[in-house]
């Protein structure tokens, strides 16, 4: 293998698996932004780069020769054994997300990639870990999930519109998890308000696809198990067409094109009627 390396004077030198290549690789490790840690198969630290010093707070001389378990929180002590077992078998542990302890006892979220170090005969003689601090990334991810949930909660309130009647706006394109959350919240509101009719308003559904239709059917079935009847409201011509084309069976579900019409149905179900104060209906 031939490498051309430019020296300071502008001359080129060719290194063949020699000192220059080693120096180059060492420089790459030292200047890397990711912590790179070399360990024996027993878990003793043998190399520790600058990024590792910054990430974990230990200087190289403080940690080289000590066990990697110095960084592992007590409740995760089996992880080192498990990881090293896999590495001994020649496997690579990829992007393993876990928690590690800094020198100042601060816990950080990290992503670890551990690879086997092999000698010339291919025997595994150690492990090399690349660690990345993902604390910020994790916080952002969790904030996003929380935000998505809040948006869902705000955009789909289940309102009690009369004694025994709730209205739930249905929005399309919900993933399975959100759809389940929506249905569960609707059922909980039914219990809270002691309702027997739920108006599922689909005015806000942009398009009726198989998944939304499936969610609708499951919600209606779940409502039945709680003794509540569903009325589908806000069925626009486009939605009616799509439901028909999808062959969705809604023969035992009452449907109406507007929420107002749906409310009228709800009152009938509850055997109620609205009459004017002077006695005329």
């Amino acid at each position: 293998m031939k490498n051309k390396i430019r020296s300071k004077g502008g001359e080129t030198a060719t290194g063949i698996q020699g000192f220059q290549t080693q120096a180059l690789l060492a420089a790459i490790v030292e200047s890397s932004d990711d912590a790179i840690i070399g360990k024996t198969l027993e878990g003793t630290v043998v190399s520790w780069n600058l990024a590792a010093e910054r990430m974990y707070g230990y200087a190289a001389r403080e940690i080289v020769g000590r066990s990697i378990n110095t960084l592992v929180p007590p409740n995760r002590s089996e992880e080192t054994v498990q990881i090293l077992e896999r590495v001994k078998r020649g496997e690579r542990v990829d992007h393993f997300e876990t928690v590690r302890l800094r020198k100042d006892d601060l816990c950080i979220n990290v992503s670890l990639t551990v690879s086997p170090i092999k000698d010339e005969s291919g025997r595994v003689i150690g492990a090399s870990t690349i660690a990345r601090d993902i604390t910020e990334q994790k916080k952002l991810r969790e904030a996003l999930t929380q935000r998505a949930k809040e948006i869902l909660d705000v955009s789909t309130p289940v309102l009690q519109v009369w004694e025994g009647v709730v209205v739930a706006p249905f929005i399309g394109t919900l993933d399975t998890q959100r759809a389940e959350q929506f249905t569960e919240r609707l059922l909980e509101r039914i219990v809270e308000t002691n309702s027997s009719v739920a108006l599922l308003d689909v005015t806000g559904v942009p398009a009726m696809d198989t998944r939304t239709a499936q969610h609708l059917i499951e919600t209606i079935a779940a409502l039945r198990l709680l003794g509540a009847q569903a009325v589908l409201t806000g069925v626009r011509p486009a939605i009616a067409q799509m439901l028909t084309h999808l062959g969705i069976n809604l023969t035992d579900v009452v449907t109406r094109s507007s929420l107002a019409a749906g409310l009228a149905v709800a009152l009938e179900i509850l055997n109620l009627k609205i009459s004017a104060r002077d006695g005329h209906t």
Partner: protein, 125 residues
């Protein structure tokens, strides 16, 4: 509410059966036996199956309930399942478990209303 045992109580013309929190297969089979025995003894018009303490539902339970309900119907009675928990209802629908034509009520009060009054008028589509 953690309920450990099956209870069968006669209230006027209705049989009230309360299921425990985590009914195993033995308990579920015992349910059917207990119901049939009580039906024989009291000849009630209706059966209320209170499952408000049940946290998990499996296909064996669902099937047994549907069967029991059919047996009760054959003997001239009606069955209402009361108090299913939201999480249980969702699991049941996801697994495609229906209780057949058995009626369901939000709670025991509603169940008793259903059985003692005329059936509520359902608007036809």
């Amino acid at each position: 509410m953690i309920n450990k045992s099956l209870s069968v109580v006669k209230i006027r013309d209705t049989l009230m059966v309360t299921m425990p929190t985590d009914p195993d297969d033995v308990m579920v089979s015992a349910l059917q036996e207990a119901v049939l025995e009580a039906m024989e003894k009291y000849r009630p018009q209706g059966l209320v199956l209170d499952i408000s303490a049940v946290e998990t539902l499996d296909s064996f339970f669902a099937r047994t309930v549907a069967e029991t309900s059919r047996m009760v119907a054959l003997m001239g009675g009606r069955t209402v399942i009361a108090g299913m928990r939201p999480s249980v209802a969702i699991t049941a629908t996801q697994l495609g478990l229906t209780m057949g034509t058995t009626m369901a009520a939000l709670n025991v009060d509603r169940a008793l209303d259903l059985l003692t009054a005329k059936p509520p008028r359902r608007e036809s589509a």
